[in-house]
């Protein structure tokens, strides 16, 4: 579908630009539509009026930059190759090597296009918001930093090299960012929020990167084009070789049980995502988080004064856990990338196992693995706090205090609360991953509508989160005014999925009844039982309705995941 007239590129350069445009235009339009329509509405409707223009402008720049990251992620297929899952690097337009075009042009045209696209994506809403709400216009420095980031990332993704060199390049680039070498010090005008002065000497490295990165990328493309560098470099790096070696350790290997298909499936998924390996991943990530947080502490203005707090650690741990969870859970639905397209293998789809058994087995291993990752992180960070670094001791004390509060409860309360937490975590993870997987593979308007609502709520909540002082009231108001979506949506979705699963013979009435019983137990366990004072709550009925329906989440998660898995298998 295209609302634009069909173009006839006449030269190789035009053809490459056209191809890049075809691949990114809808993402760009969507980004522009969101930033041009939703941002002003949210700013006007929810942002407290007592904020200064400088504060608003600064927050707006942050939001727009964050939106560029979302645009960047959505343009993934233009940035990195997804031929062999996540571990392949190399030039993204490698299928164009066969065309009569020089490597220089083949490399520079998409680089120029992508940089220009991101600059446009940043400029248009900035200028629009300047005219609508008077926010500061974009500063030239922003353009240099966006170009620097894009060219650097393209260099990292598009130039493959043998072995550990690729990983080393990534680590080096991250260290440069982390150390602040790639972003100069900026001071802003207190009344307008506009960038006031920039340390010009600190601009040398960003400008240098803008010049050198395309040259390195072009050289890399040239080498790949004639087969001098393999494109699967990250996969061959030292780290992954170590991981593979651990995976192949004989004591971790067990023979596949042949007497039960369920046990065989359990064995298969453990071979692919072994639990021991997950524990090691957690330990490794724990060390990484410790290094990052400690590095941040050292680079901060007053290192070590107050020590590292638990929130800082939890923040990074949370990010890593979310990434591990998404990757693990999406793959537990059997999704992989082949030739830039998400697919599920026929091997999985034709496995002689009921969809429910397939899902439960795979998800159980994934969830257990995730808990082991978390455990590994806690062990390392707690150990470091106690033994190695004084800066971590305050975080350890905070953790101890939290644990003592938790353990001071009665045994039954501890068990119920632990179960409640696990059920909630598993439910959220299951919903989230079924949604992502479904969106990748299933064309269903019900699903798209649900995803649209989730994205809208998330984006709005994150945006409101940028406006500090009154945020609790603003976010609260916003969420309360949208609570009816959950109140109505969850029961409707439970009925729809139950009906659909029964109609398509994915599940039997007996199995569905068991699910409802399990759902009822989870309902009882996770019951939040909100105590509301009718005199102080304006939305009493809404809250009471929400209290009733929210606890349907575990049942909804199970049904939704089953529905997704069945669609993947049978459509």
């Amino acid at each position: 579908m295209s609302f634009l007239p069909a173009l006839n590129p006449r030269t190789p350069t035009q053809a490459l630009l056209w191809k890049c445009w075809l691949r990114t235009r809808w993402k760009l339009f969507f980004h522009q539509a969101v930033t041009l329509i939703i941002l002003p509405v949210i700013y006007v409707r929810y942002v407290p009026e007592d904020r200064t223009l400088a504060e608003l402008s600064e927050a707006n720049v942050t939001i727009l930059i964050a939106s560029l990251f979302i645009l960047f992620a959505s343009c993934g297929s233009m940035m990195y190759r997804m031929k062999n899952a996540w571990d392949s690097s190399g030039f993204v337009l490698d299928s164009d090597y066969k065309y009569p075009i020089s490597s220089l042009r083949l490399s520079l045209v998409p680089q120029t296009y992508l940089v220009a696209m991101f600059l446009v994506a940043y400029t248009v809403p900035s200028v629009a918001l300047h005219f609508i709400l008077g926010y500061a216009l974009p500063h030239w420095l922003s353009y240099i930093l966006i170009a620097e980031f894009m060219l650097l990332v393209m260099m990292l993704y598009w130039t493959a090299s043998d072995g550990w060199l690729t990983s080393a390049r990534w680590v080096f680039a991250l260290a440069l960012y982390w150390g602040g070498y790639l972003v100069p010090d900026i001071t802003r005008d207190e009344t307008t929020g506009q960038i006031d002065s920039v340390s010009l000497i600190q601009l040398v490295i960003p400008v240098l990167i803008c010049i050198v990165a395309p040259i390195i990328t072009t050289r890399g493309v040239k080498l790949q084009r004639c087969g001098d560098v393999s494109e699967k470099a990250i996969g061959d790096s030292l780290l992954f070789r170590i991981v593979r070696r651990i995976q192949s350790l004989s004591f971790l290997k067990s023979p596949c049980p042949t007497d039960s298909p369920l046990l065989a499936e359990f064995w298969l998924i453990r071979q692919k995502r072994g639990l021991f390996l997950r524990l090691l991943t957690g330990l490794g990530l724990g060390v990484l988080i410790a290094a990052m947080v400690a590095g941040m502490d050292v680079w901060s203005d007053s290192p070590g004064n107050e020590g590292i707090n638990l929130f800082e650690i939890a923040f990074f741990a949370g990010i890593f856990l979310i990434v591990v969870a998404i990757v693990g859970a999406v793959t537990s639905f059997g999704v992989s990338y082949i030739h830039e397209t998400p697919r599920v293998s026929v091997f999985l789809r034709t496995r002689p196992l009921a969809t429910s058994k397939l899902l439960y087995t795979r998800f159980a291993v994934t969830f257990a693995g995730l808990l082991l990752v978390a455990l590994g992180m806690i062990v390392v960070l707690y150990g470091i706090g106690g033994l190695m670094l004084n800066a971590f001791s305050s975080a350890r004390e905070e953790f101890d205090a939290l644990m003592s509060v938790f353990l001071s409860q009665s045994a039954s309360d501890i068990v119920v609360q632990s179960l409640r937490t696990l059920i909630s975590l598993a439910s959220i993870l299951l919903v989230f991953c079924a949604l992502i997987t479904g969106l990748l593979l299933i064309r269903n308007s019900f699903l798209k509508l649900g995803a649209g609502v989730v994205v809208y709520l998330l984006v709005a909540t994150v945006i409101l989160g940028f406006f500090a002082d009154s945020i609790e009231i603003s976010i609260f108001d916003f969420l309360v005014s949208h609570l009816w979506i959950l109140v109505v949506g969850l029961p409707v979705a439970v009925i729809y999925f139950s009906y659909d699963l029964l109609k398509n013979h994915v599940t039997s009435l007996l199995h569905l009844s068991i699910l409802f019983v399990v759902g009822a137990i989870c309902y009882w366990l996770t019951n939040t039982d909100i105590e509301l004072d009718p005199e102080t709550t304006d939305h009493l009925l809404l809250f009471q309705s929400f209290d009733l329906t929210y606890n349907l989440l575990p049942l909804f998660a199970l049904l939704f995941a089953l529905w997704t898995m069945s669609r993947i298998r049978h459509t």
């Binding site: 069909a6 190789p12 053809a15 056209w18 065309y99 009569p100 075009i101 084009r225 004639c226 397209t341």
Partner: protein
């Protein structure tokens, strides 16, 4: 020689411990159809990739139209049409978008020829490539490869995995292209009857070595399948130069060889053997005989 389109000399290529090409030399002349045959992993695709410049010659030389394809990709590739084994096409494009995109790279693109082929194959231009069947993908890729009337057409397993009707369509298109005066085709295939039907010249490649490089006519004339009978039973066929393979037991044996009837008769005489029946060997029989011989030599080594 001016009519040499491809000239490869002493080309070797190694991937890890595997020698994909070992001191290969090969020339392709203008206006001929070359059939490249060999078993899986023999080195056919590696050879084609060197011709395209997708692999740099680390040892030896590759020249296409008198130029190094790695150094001069624009000049060389503009006259080459390439159909890859995996039919790597952008799934997200429609057929029409792919044609427009490809056209921009080739000044000699013949739109009427592309339209005619689209019509012949019954392809709808608006259709997305991801929605095409395997046969339709192959047809689309072929149109993109031939519509600029390349001087050199490289087809890597053009008919693998296709049904007989699509195969016929593809071959007709190829025949049409090569019928244009002075165009060269190099195609690899597992289907030896297809190679036999289309090729002027056969290049047999096995484990990185070219084991046969001759005109089809010459290959047919020099390779025979003969039934022989010995006076005494033999556990194994007596060693004879020129015999490529043998099958049988006791007194009766069937042998594939590159000898004339008189030469074979002379070699059989000391062993008290005689020719019962003889005919020209098919390409498949020659291939099996030569591939088996290489395998036996490898095992012996």
């Amino acid at each position: 020689m001016t009519d040499q389109v491809v000239r490869i000399s002493n080309l070797s290529r190694q991937f890890g411990n595997v020698k994909a090409l070992d001191n290969v030399s090969f020339c392709a002349s203008q206006g001929k159809v070359y059939g490249l045959v060999g078993s899986n992993g023999a080195g056919k695709t590696t050879l084609i990739k060197h011709i395209l410049g997708l692999l740099r010659a680390r040892s030896g030389d590759v020249e296409v139209f008198g130029l190094n394809p790695v150094q001069h990709p624009e000049q060389v590739l503009v006259d080459i049409g390439y159909l890859s084994e995996n039919r790597e096409l952008p799934d997200w494009m429609s057929i029409d978008q792919l044609m427009r995109y490809t056209k921009a790279f080739y000044p000699n693109w013949d739109q009427s020829y592309a339209d005619e082929l689209l019509d012949t194959f019954g392809l709808t231009p608006d259709k997305k490539i991801k929605d095409l069947s395997r046969g339709m993908r192959a047809q689309t890729a072929l149109i993109a490869a031939v519509a600029h009337k390349p001087k050199l057409l490289l087809l890597d397993e053009p008919s693998s995995g296709l049904d007989a009707i699509v195969r016929k369509d593809i071959l007709n298109a190829v025949v049409r292209t090569i019928s244009e005066e002075g165009r060269t085709v190099i195609f690899s295939s597992h289907l030896l009857e297809e190679v036999e039907r289309l090729s002027d010249h056969v290049v047999m490649i096995q484990q990185g070595h070219i084991v046969l490089d001759d005109s089809l006519e010459q290959v047919n004339e020099t390779h025979h399948l003969s039934s022989v009978r010995f006076d005494e039973p033999h556990d194994a066929l007596p060693a004879m130069e020129g015999v490529l393979s043998s099958d049988g037991e006791g007194r009766l044996w069937t042998i594939t060889h590159s000898l004339s009837a008189a030469e074979l008769g002379n070699r059989l005489a000391p062993h008290k053997g005689e020719i019962i029946e003889s005919r020209n060997a098919t390409l498949e029989e020659i291939f099996v005989a030569r591939a088996g011989r290489i395998l036996i030599e490898e095992i012996a080594a």
